[in-house]
């Protein structure tokens, strides 16, 4: 469960955040929503698809991390097995929530909140949030800028996917995978860029996509799909390791 409270330099003066990632915690997801500004860094490791937000039905870019519900193949013995960790994972256990009693309709002011039930929260080890004088630590400052990057990034992401959907440049994809042990999986609810649609796009719209940086993001995304086979290989290694370990 999530138990969000607004972060306070008084109440949380001595809280520390451990980098531990647990296979039952927040990171136990098979896909994580990402923002276009991190595509270039994600490109080194993850296939980036689109998924639909269960809240709004809008498309959002997401990095695929595993094939089953809660299966994160990048999570190995409490650490992340890739040089770049998606911001949505890095920011845990923090988030931004609308300020209580904020004016309705206006751009709501946001507060940094902390999930008190997160296993990241420690008192003995890990990064401190506040210095002795109550000033935010370097660590907290980096979290805060990450959170605001996610907020503006998500606005950009929706503008990006919204326009792509309007231009019919997003299509559903069905991927059937057979693993080394013979088990099969069908990936559902994933979408990617309609390459044929992009090829046939009139020059004016192509120019618009280029000017808004969307074209660059699309190509990064298309290139990232090469990592799908790497992800399958990751799972296969795990499966054959598990098989070998059996007597």
């Amino acid at each position: 469960m999530v138990n969000l409270v607004v972060l306070s330099s008084q109440t949380h003066r001595n809280v520390r955040i451990a980098a531990t990632l647990s296979s039952s915690g927040d990171a136990a997801v098979n896909a994580v929503s990402v923002i276009p500004r991190e595509f270039a860094r994600l490109l080194a490791h993850y296939p980036i698809f689109f998924t639909k937000s269960p809240e709004t039905g809008q498309f959002e870019p997401a990095a695929l991390l595993g094939f089953e519900h809660h299966e994160n193949l990048f999570l190995m013995d409490g650490r992340w097995d890739a040089a770049y960790v998606p911001l949505q994972i890095q920011r845990q256990p923090f988030s931004l929530i609308p300020r209580h009693g904020g004016a309705e309709g206006k751009e709501a002011a946001l507060d940094v909140a902390l999930d008190l039930d997160s296993p990241h929260i420690q008192t003995q080890q890990g990064e401190r949030l506040f210095l002795n004088d109550g000033q935010p630590s370097k660590f907290l400052q980096s979290i805060t800028s990450m959170l605001s990057a996610l907020v503006s990034g998500s606005t950009e992401a929706y503008a990006f996917t919204g326009r792509l959907a309007e231009l019919n440049l997003i299509e559903p994809v069905r991927i059937d995978i057979e693993f080394v042990n013979g088990s099969e999986t069908k990936l559902q609810g994933l979408y990617w860029i309609a390459a044929a649609g992009l090829k046939a796009l009139p020059a004016a719209q192509l120019a618009e996509l280029r000017d808004r940086e969307f074209l660059e993001w699309m190509y990064l995304q298309m290139a990232s799909l090469a990592h799908l086979s790497a992800l399958v290989a990751r799972k296969n290694r795990l499966l054959s390791g598990a098989t070998a370990a059996r007597p």
Binding site: E55, G57, F59, A165, P172
Partner: protein
């Protein structure tokens, strides 16, 4: 017919009258045969400005989704602009004996296993204390919790359960009008027809308008509503009244505001039986539409109004500022619908009481048939007309049968209206034969002769068994394989209903989200 007349191409279509009928027909034709300059088919709609919509056609059938998709509108725009909500069937209250527990559903989703086998006999054999629809279809649960048939992530025009819409007919026409003009190249003018001119052979050659325009066409589609300008007034095709079968001939209609902005929106049309008819209750996003359809032979206007007020007051919906509108209903249809180069669609073709919402679906079917039958030249029109007339006469007859079924199966004895409805001479032979046959045989595809039935065997099963009709199939026609299949399927229904109840949003929740975010096309 002269050879030149025979080879006259059919390219110019004039739709007389806007409204739901005119604009659906124009939209279906214009989207099916996209405009190609002077080469292709041209569709023109002429409508008069002061023609308020009748406004009772607020319920649709699931066919409407394919029709809207064909016309090329998005589901998001449609839902937003027509204040539409999701309709997943009908809920009949107090139709059987009038007791408090008397209620059953006619859901849009087919009974379980329907694609493979007729499992109704096995429900009859062992209902396990469950009603027919609840045993055979997960959708009754979805409806009783006022849930939506889909999620915000479900693409446009698809659902986890079969669905149609409730819509504001006053907004639907203008919505389609705009799309037809802007996107489909339909020509439109506001004017009134003052004269219809004929050729020597009797075909309509042109119509002359109040402002002096002369509109010639190869095919005229009469969507002029009850005034039946062409099919009735010009051609004098007789109207066949069905008043002796369906007694309803009047209605009181009223619009009810929601008490709060987040009040639940019912997922089914509620039809509650009264002493001399029944009350419809339909939830749109902005208001409810409620009305009492009754038979003037059994109830005065004042008496009916009082009964409607009682219905509202029992729900806490009666207030002083409600305005009640009286509507006349003349149940019946034309002897033929397509005569010479004129075909009638909508109220000009016929109208039956709004039970089971057949009005809009008949418009869709007519528009589709016209598009499919449309001959290249005038010479082919006679055959097209014959086929159209045969099909639609059959369809109107089947709808009359199906509506009458609801009254024939009632056991209410509280008024002459209900008792007389069961009088043998008021029941069409075709329905009597069906009822006789269904004594030992559960309705199935072969019982109906057309490929595309308005009301399929599934609908008959829902009404017959919803109303407690008993069929006694011979034991040697049943077998263990199907019996086991029925048991499995029924337990799947229960599980699926539970799973959906946990994952589907409320009707209101989803409609608000659609308003805010829209639905994706894929």
């Amino acid at each position: 017919m002269a050879p030149q007349a025979e080879s006259q191409p059919v390219r110019k279509i004039l739709v007389v009258g806007g409204g739901t009928a005119g604009w659906i027909t124009a939209g279906v034709l214009a989207s099916r045969y996209p405009r190609r300059g002077e080469e292709g088919i041209s569709v023109t709609v002429i409508e008069s400005r002061q023609q308020p919509p009748i406004g009772v056609g607020e319920g649709t059938w699931p066919t409407i989704r394919a029709t809207l998709k064909q016309i090329g509108v998005t589901e998001t725009d449609f839902l937003r602009e027509c204040d539409a909500s999701f309709k997943q069937g009908s809920h009949f209250v107090k139709w059987v004996d009038g007791s408090d527990a008397d209620a059953y559903y006619h859901p849009f989703t087919l009974p379980v296993g329907y694609e493979e086998r007729n499992l109704a006999p096995y429900w009859l054999e062992n209902p396990r204390g469950q009603r027919f629809a609840a045993s055979m279809c997960f959708q009754t649960d979805v409806c009783s919790h006022a849930l939506a048939p889909k999620q915000i992530t479900t693409p446009e025009f698809t659902g986890l359960a079969n669905y149609a819409y409730h819509l504001d007919a006053g907004k639907f026409g203008p919505f389609l009008q705009k799309h037809c003009i802007d996107k489909l190249g339909v020509t439109h003018l506001y004017d009134e027809i003052v004269r219809v001119e004929s050729k020597e052979d009797g075909d309509i050659s042109q119509v002359v308008t109040k402002s002096g325009e002369v509109l010639a066409a190869d095919l005229f589609i009469d969507c002029s509503g009850f005034s039946s300008l062409l099919i009735g007034k010009h051609f004098g095709v007789p109207f066949l009244s069905k008043k002796d079968v369906l007694f309803i001939d009047k209605a009181w209609a009223v619009q009810i505001p929601y008490p709060t902005d987040d009040a639940a929106i019912t997922s089914a049309t509620m039809a509650t039986a009264q002493s001399s008819g029944w009350v419809w209750d339909i939830g749109l996003t902005t208001r409810r539409g409620v009305g009492y359809v009754f038979s003037s032979g059994y109830m005065s206007d004042e008496g009916a109004l009082q009964e409607l007020k009682n219905y509202l007051s029992a729900r806490g919906d009666l207030s002083r500022d409600l305005s009640f509108r009286k509507i006349d209903i003349n149940s019946g249809y034309r002897q033929e619908f397509w005569t010479r180069n004129c075909v009638a669609v909508g109220l000009s073709a016929g109208f039956l009481e709004p039970l089971e919402a057949s009005a809009i679906v008949m418009i869709e079917l007519s528009a589709k048939s016209i598009a499919n039958l449309l001959p290249s030249c005038r010479g082919g029109m006679q055959q097209a007309a014959r086929l159209f007339n045969d099909t639609f006469r059959y369809r109107w007859e089947r709808i009359v049968d199906f509506l009458k079924l609801h009254y024939v199966l009632s056991r209410r004895t509280d008024s002459r209206f209900w008792i007389d409805n069961r009088a043998r001479e008021s029941i069409p032979d075709s329905l009597r034969d069906g009822l006789e046959y269904w004594r030992d045989h559960c309705p199935w595809h072969e019982d109906f002769s057309h490929r595309e039935e308005v009301f399929s065997a599934a609908s008959y099963q829902y009404i017959l068994y919803g109303m407690g009709f008993q069929t006694y199939p011979a034991p040697w026609l049943l077998n263990d394989r199907e019996r086991n299949l029925a048991r499995e399927k029924m337990s799947e229904v229960a599980q699926y209903a539970k799973a959906l109840a946990a994952s589907l949003p409320g009707n209101r929740d989803l409609l608000s989200k659609v308003r805010r975010y829209g639905l994706q096309k894929i």
